[in-house]
């Protein structure tokens, strides 16, 4: 293994000053700093593989004090930095535009406290979502946000993107479950807000959640624990068309029910899931809804009957009730693995994330079908139908540049339609690099200026996660190197 001093002085490894690297090593230990180009490749992108940018170094701090010391070094040497969790972002949230240092929080994996009576847990940012779920088994409580990435994604990452999941209709998104945060600012100072409410303080937790690492590096989180419902009913309902399914969803809500989940899968995705899991999904239908009702046993039967009647009214061909916890588990596994199963249908795929007011779901689904035909790109659909959150999945072959271009343009048109219908370019995946240019379509210049002002208050030198979330001159310049994403005219 080359010694740091040797290789740095030979100038063969990194753009960072040798002194900065030495200081980083002195804080976290030499074994916890990567700076050889070959070691850095893994960190040049995340789940969104179209955009890549290699960092100049990567560090693995093991606690908040180390993160603070690393930030101080970066601040002194004017090195850009970007915090990273498990790297499951599907939008390029972990791509370090402009290079600099990636600060890995995946070594900070301690669950520090679980207080069931006061209904919170304290976790370090690198604790995986399912790690906390496992620690809570048998307690009667859970951390409600359950993004499909949950087996890998960290709670710090969930906070950074304000992650959602299939249960947000009833339980809300991550921001509704964060009671407090400890975070390191770009100059290395440490700030804490919460967990007890302080009326004499601005809601810093609220703005830090969903800020994609552009305001501060969240190192510790007080998360709300929600009592598990005492009873569940999970249904699988097959409809002849997507429209029937979405109409049924609207009527369920209009009837005053708030199901825990209302998940839609179209015929295309069912084929992929069936090929992968042989679950027994019908393949001659237009769409399947997975409906989960939860609450008190005493009321669930009534809600189930209402739901059944509505589904039947909308031509449901088959209504199956999960008969055991195992069956429910398996149904959910299929839904959560649906995207991965798409790998069987196509050499490459790209999952999009957009949201419309729920009553506009039939319109956006039609538009997606139209775009699919126009661009000659196969698109299959999963959707958190109760939230109006669509996830069209584009199937293509990455080796054919013309196809990639068509996919990107088709994706852009889907999101523009989301904006036109009164929705948003992302419901839960975040902006990353993928949607940076679209921020200018969703918001007016004044709105983006206001966002920049907030960033200025937290991160005045702009060293922390530069160019991300709110587009600026630099990010547009960087994006110019990825003409397919948005830099090209």
């Amino acid at each position: 293994m080359p010694r740091i001093n040797d290789s740095i002085t030979e100038g063969q490894s990194t753009k960072l000053a040798a002194e900065a690297i030495r200081e980083l090593c002195s804080v976290v230990g030499e074994q916890n700093v990567l700076w050889h180009p070959s070691d850095l490749m893994v960190y040049e992108c995340d789940g969104y593989t179209i955009a890549k940018h290699r960092p100049d170094a990567v560090v693995f701090p093991s606690d908040t004090q180390q993160v603070a010391a690393v930030a101080r070094i970066c601040h002194r040497h004017k090195i850009p930095m970007l915090p990273r969790g498990a790297g499951t972002s599907l939008a390029g949230g972990c791509v370090p535009l402009g290079g600099g240092l990636v600060i890995m929080l995946t070594r900070m994996t301690r669950i520090l406290e679980i207080d069931l009576r006061n209904r919170f847990a304290v976790v370090e940012a690198g604790v995986r979502n399912t790690q906390l779920a496992r620690a809570l088994v048998g307690s009667g409580y859970h951390f409600a946000p359950d993004p499909s990435s949950q087996t890998a994604s960290t709670i710090g990452g969930n906070v950074a993107t304000n992650a959602g999941g299939p249960h947000t209709l009833k339980y809300g998104v991550t921001v509704n479950h964060v009671l407090g945060v400890e975070a390191v600012l770009a100059d290395g100072s440490i700030v804490q807000h919460g967990p007890v409410v302080d009326p004499g303080m601005l809601d810093l937790c609220g703005v830090l959640t969903g800020s994609e690492g552009t305001l501060a590096i969240v190192t510790k989180i007080w998360v709300r624990l929600t009592p598990l419902p005492s009873a569940l009913r999970t249904l699988r309902v097959a409809f002849p068309t997507v429209e029937d399914a979405t109409e049924a969803v609207s009527e369920i809500i209009a009837a005053g029910l708030i199901p825990a989940a209302l998940e839609l899968m179209d015929r295309g995705i069912l084929e992929a899931v069936e090929a992968a899991f042989q679950f027994g999904f019908p393949l001659d239908v237009g769409a399947v809804l997975v409906i989960e009702l939860d609450g008190e046993e005493a009321s669930l039967e009534e809600e189930l009957q209402i739901t059944r009647r509505i589904c039947e009214r909308w031509n449901a061909r088959e209504i199956l009730l999960a008969n055991s916890p195992e069956e429910r588990e398996r149904l959910w596994k299929c839904r959560k693995s649906a995207v991965a199963a798409v790998g069987r249908l196509s050499p490459s795929y790209c999952i999009q994330d957009g949201v419309v007011p729920r009553t506009k779901l039939p319109q956006i689904v039609k538009k997606v079908q139209k775009i699919s035909q126009e661009f000659n790109i196969r698109i299959v659909n999963v959707a958190h139908a109760g939230d109006g959150n669509i996830h069209p999945i584009f199937l293509f072959d990455e080796r054919e540049p013309a196809q990639v271009d068509r996919v990107l343009e088709a994706g852009r048109q889907v999101l523009e339609e989301c904006i036109a219908l009164g929705g948003s370019i992302t419901a839960e995946h975040g902006v990353g690099v993928e949607k940076l240019h679209l921020m200018r379509e969703q918001y007016r210049p004044e709105d983006l200026t206001a966002m920049r002002r907030l960033r200025e208050a937290f991160n005045p030198d702009g060293l922390l996660t530069p160019g991300k979330l709110v587009p600026d001159e630099r990010s547009l310049e960087w994006l110019g190197t990825y003409p397919r994403i948005g830099g090209a005219p």
Binding site: N118, G140, T161, G164, V173, S189, V191, Q192, H193, P195, V196, V197, P199, G200, M201, L202, D203, G206, V207, T209, G210, S211, L215, P227, S230, S250, I253, L257, I258, E296, E297, A298, S299, E302, V355, R358, T359, H384, D387, G388, N389, G422, S424, T426, A427, E428, H429, Q442, Y443, D447, L448, T449, A450, M451, R453, L454, E456, F458, L469, V470
Partner: protein, 471 residues
């Protein structure tokens, strides 16, 4: 029921005229106040005709160094220190329309001058509601409720406005019009800027329009009120109930004689009890019945001996009475003396936020420090609100030291929610900025960030100067 549009305006010898500054817009209105507002150095209240007029007015005021004091239904005027610079009040009485209500999307967008009762009436048409407690709904406005974000009895189950605001339009202290969030229930594009305006007392911007998530109105509401002898008994009942899987929609201890007066037109509470434990459930018939059975199984026999029960509309009304606790005193006795004032004593409202498990101990501590206190103890969500009466000369000292100390020991926060106009009480005492809340460096850092945010959005300190935590 809503009070008539300009009930309070009609009472005063007001004079409505076209505003003399052309930039405010010809349809805007200037009300000269007959009675001065004791907490604000203003003579006039401007009612802009639209958002553009408001933005122009704020930008001009910033240029001239005038202050602007946004007011809503004026139900919480005594929250916050007195304003420090002369200027104008701004009221959004002319911005109170429904903008969009796609009921099946479970969202509603309204202008922020709309009163809470008006919003509630709209939602009722679709059997929906905003399940957040807002004191004095017949006077309070949507914008005012957002600025204050006061916790109520149903917080234990439904959270606060922070959980329901999806997006808003705001005019900041520069006169810039900002749109933040979206009209959908889930949005990850950009910062949650709107969170900053909830609970910051209008010091970062004047909210003009809000998109809220709404929920179906539950078919059944049952509320039980048990007279109890002491707080220990409440603690026992609450601890045992927490072992059951049921989620109460109200869980509160009502301490003190005042509660009998407050519940005046409702079936009366037992006259001999020093306090009551209120527990309520909402939902479908079956689950509410099951929860009530669980109460009977889990509460100690001493608690179960006697109770009053309220159903549906009456239960809603009682829950509202509990929510009105912080403002009822002001609404009733402004300018009059009663059992809380007199003998050189002044009444103040304390609000402590704590961990739920600390609330009853804390309430006990307050009763020891000030006997005969009237309190609302929100056991499930960790809030204690207490009306206390203290000689004015000792006020600041006792709040900072005695009560502040008791709160800091439990890592909680303490603010003053009401004090009579003219009382000498510093801003740092009112917002709990002395001692505990800012004692450690991490909290100091949070305050530094808050100040920087204020500088970004209101660099001339136009909005509500001196009222909130900022200088």
């Amino acid at each position: 029921m809503c009070e008539p549009l300009s009930a309070e305006a009609a009472k005063k010898s007001e004079k409505n005229e076209r505003f003399s500054i052309p930039s405010i817009g010809s349809n805007s209105r200037l009300t000269v106040m007959a009675q001065s507002c004791p907490y604000l150095p203003i003579d006039d209240i401007v009612e802009p005709a639209d958002e553009t007029s408001l933005a122009t007015f704020i930008a001009e005021s910033a240029g001239k160094g005038n202050a602007i004091y946004p007011v809503g239904g004026q139900t919480f005027m005594a929250l916050g220190a007195p304003g420090t610079r002369p200027g104008y009040g701004v009221r959004l009485d002319r911005l109170r329309s429904l903008v969009d209500y796609p009921a099946e999307d479970l969202t509603v967008t309204v202008q922020s001058g709309m009163r809470i009762c008006e919003l509630d009436a709209l939602l009722r048409e679709n059997n929906q509601r905003l399940p957040v407690d807002i004191p004095q709904p017949s006077r309070a406005t949507v914008g005012g409720a957002i600025a204050v974000n006061w916790p109520g009895p149903r917080q234990v189950r439904y959270g606060t406005l922070r959980d329901y605001v999806l997006g808003m339009r705001v005019v900041d202290g520069r006169g810039n019009r900002i749109f933040t969030g979206a009209r959908v229930v889930k949005n990850a594009a950009g910062y949650n800027l709107h969170r900053l305006y909830i609970g910051s007392l209008g010091t970062l911007g004047v909210v003009t329009e809000v998109t809220l998530m709404v929920r179906p109105r539950p078919p059944v509401h049952e509320l039980l009120v048990f007279p109890i002898a002491n707080l220990q008994l409440a603690a026992q009942a609450v601890e045992r109930f927490f072992e059951t899987p049921y989620q109460p929609s109200v869980l509160a201890v009502l301490v003190g004689r005042r509660w009998r007066a407050e519940s005046g037109d409702l079936p009366s509470l037992s006259s001999s009890a020093p306090m009551w434990l209120a527990v309520g459930f909402e939902g479908r018939e079956g689950e509410v019945r099951a929860a009530l059975e669980a109460v009977k199984r889990s509460f100690p026999a001493e608690v179960l001996r006697e109770h009053a029960s309220f159903s549906n509309e009456v239960a809603d009304k009682f829950a509202q009475t509990i929510a009105d606790f912080p403002t009822a005193y002001q609404a009733r006795s402004e300018g009059e003396s009663d059992e809380l004032s007199g003998n050189g004593k002044v009444p103040i409202l304390l609000r402590a936020d704590l961990l739920p498990t600390d609330t009853l101990n804390y309430a006990e501590r307050i009763s020891q420090l000030v006997p005969e206190t009237n309190m609302l103890v929100l056991v499930g969500s960790g809030v204690v609100q207490a009306w206390i009466s203290i000689p004015e000369h000792a006020l600041g000292d006792r709040v900072d030291k005695e009560f502040g100390h008791a709160t800091r020991e439990l890592s909680g926060s303490l603010i003053v929610g009401y004090y009579p106009a003219g009382t000498r009480l510093s801003r740092s005492t009112i917002w709990g900025l002395t001692g505990g809340n800012t004692s450690d460096v991490r909290r100091l850092m949070a305050h530094q960030i808050a100040r920087r945010i204020k500088e970004q959005f209101d660099p001339q300190n136009v909005l509500n100067p001196g009222r909130y935590i900022f200088d």
